[in-house]
């Protein structure tokens, strides 16, 4: 925290240098003779030395710097290109809710798991596949992403294979991503998945004892060994350590953060993982699992510190939210549908429920959020355009802090589904994401200005500040 406060943050207001030469304004973070400028409206940034920052502050910008600022969206001159900040409606990521059934009973599960869980019928699944294929043909998309969803999606493994095969026959490459508890990953499932290049992420909640506490089998027994065997089957089938890992952080796991990261890197040889903070929802059984504001802030710092320490000790391991947020700041990442340009549910992603209804995200337990159905005979993009004016999901998310927030472009109020699950309607912002952004982004910028070599480590050499 001492280091963080040493980074000076200010806002440089817009000004006109000469007639028609506009500086658009932006947040400025300075330390050690370096400055990071961020344009919160369009998410662009630039790193400068002190002399060039002074040119801006003194409103005497040289031609060379002026050119760089134009190309980075900080300056406009007559005829210069206009920045874009709006995303078109063109879904390329599709979630299909295959089953409510699950072989686990996790303490924080937010699905409304009924007594008699349903699984999608073959007829409805076929209508969804046909709908997606028709949409892809009309929009000229030959490669899309599909996430079979549950419950535990592998319960419907045959249906997953059918999605893959049928789309392939229709000339569409479907990249399938599955998040699984791994309890059903047999050697055969692992082999079939590997042969089809299906991306599988395994849910692990840290150390075995905590995992067993939070992720019980449906029969009440411990699940860690089952998960471990499933993960091993994936590795043996050819994935090696290149399968995903998803961890839910709760108040139970938080005290052991450093220990389980060590366990991930050294014992499980995991080299990348995604750490999601548990989200509050009305169906969550144990509210005590949610983190307090102070814990969230503390967590971000501890996570960064431990990742850096492990990497310095020679264990190459990255966390994917940190990775994406580093890219947001430095290269205006657009890869993450949730955290790079605000929530893109209903624009780049949609979900189908087991009756063929279409939703802007995996919010299928809230039927009022359906934008239409595959059985309506209507086309997807017009349906989504209409929904943008109609359903609660697309309501503006904002708090009094958002207007002056440097992270606005990346956040835009956070995850709509998280707000809906927590409050029952879309109002205000996703407080958890807000707090995460407000604590993590300043730490990352401090890194750019103080220890920029760490960027290379935490992005697995993808980015490097030179």
């Amino acid at each position: 925290m001492e280091k963080l406060t040493a980074v000076r943050r200010s806002f440089i207001s817009p000004f006109v240098q000469e007639k028609d030469f506009d500086f658009t304004g932006g947040y400025c973070f300075e330390k050690n003779g370096s400055a990071f400028l961020l344009n919160p409206d369009v998410g662009s940034s630039i790193l400068l030395d002190r002399d060039h920052l002074e040119e801006i502050k003194n409103k005497k910008i040289s031609d060379d710097l002026q050119f760089k600022l134009i190309q980075r969206g900080f300056m406009k001159v007559p005829g210069s290109p206009q920045c874009t900040d709006e995303e078109s409606i063109l879904p390329r990521f599709f979630i299909i809710d295959l089953t409510q059934a699950c072989n686990f009973r996790c303490t924080y599960c937010f699905r409304h798991l009924d007594e008699t869980p349903r699984t999608i019928s073959n007829e409805t699944l076929q209508s969804i596949i046909d709908f997606i294929a028709d949409y892809c043909k009309k929009t000229n998309q030959r490669e899309i992403h599909i996430q079979p969803w549950g419950g535990e999606p592998l319960i419907a493994w045959k249906k997953i294979l059918h999605i893959h095969d049928d789309l392939q026959e229709k000339g569409i490459k479907a990249v399938l991503t599955i998040e699984s508890n791994a309890g059903l990953i047999t050697p055969r499932v692992a082999k079939e998945a590997y042969e089809r290049d299906i991306r599988i992420g395994v849910s692990i909640d840290g150390l075995p004892e905590i995992h067993n506490l939070q992720r019980k089998l449906a029969n009440g027994k411990d699940s860690f060994e089952k998960m471990r065997q499933g993960m091993q089957n994936l590795r043996d089938a050819g994935y090696g350590t290149r399968h995903g890992i998803i961890t839910v952080l709760t108040r139970n796991t938080l005290p052991y953060l450093e220990e389980f990261l060590e366990y991930f890197a050294i014992d499980l040889k995991i080299d990348r993982f995604k750490l999601n903070i548990v989200k509050d929802s009305p169906v969550m059984k144990d509210k005590g699992l949610c983190l307090s504001n102070a814990e969230i802030i503390d967590f971000q710092k501890r996570l960064l510190k431990k990742l850096i320490e492990l990497n310095k000790r020679g264990h190459s391991i990255i966390e994917l939210n940190v990775f994406d947020k580093l890219q947001n700041l430095l290269i205006r990442n657009k890869g993450n549908i949730c955290i790079s340009r605000g929530c893109l549910g209903g624009k780049k992603m949609i979900a189908f429920d087991m009756d063929g209804r279409i939703f802007p995200c995996d919010i299928t337990d809230y039927k009022e959020e359906a934008v239409g159905s595959v059985n309506d005979g209507e086309e997807l993009i017009p349906l989504l355009e209409k929904a943008h004016h109609k359903t609660d999901f697309f309501a503006k998310k904002e708090s009094e802090n958002c207007a002056s927030c440097p992270w606005w472009f990346f956040c835009k109020g956070g995850c709509t589904t998280a707000i809906k699950y927590k409050k029952g309607k879309v109002e205000g912002v996703d407080e958890l994401e807000c707090l995460s952004n407000r604590s993590l982004y300043p730490e990352l910028i401090r890194m750019f200005l103080e220890e920029h070599e760490l960027v290379k480590i935490l992005t697995k050499n993808k980015l490097e500040i030179a």
């Binding site: 370096s34 369009v42 662009s44 630039i46 790193l47 400068l48 030395d49 002399d51 060039h52 040289s62 060379d64 710097l65 050119f67 760089k68 190309q71 980075r72 969206g73 005829g79 290109p81 206009q82 920045c83 874009t84 430095l330 290269i331 205006r332 657009k334 920029h452 960027v455 993808k462 980015l463 490097e464 500040i465 030179a466």
Partner: protein, 92 residues
Amino acid sequence: MKVLRFTKNNIDTFYLSPYIEYTFDDEKLVLRNDLFAKVLIAPQLKKDPEKTMQMLKEGIPSADAVAFVRDNFVCNDPQQVLEAFLQNGILE
């Protein structure tokens, strides 16, 4: 990807913008600038495409930029090609 910190040593050098995605479609170099939503199809390349792109990433002194375009792309008017690269946000 190298993210640059601009100083007096590199402020007058042209680099490939960090907001560019490029692909080689049917041997054509297609460059997309995501910040400005611009797409540019470059003239035919004379050399190994990846080598040319690597040189742009490493930086070309602005005084050598026209010569660089002449050496790397099939074109009658390298100055005009360079202008197109600059106006579409391909180089910064």
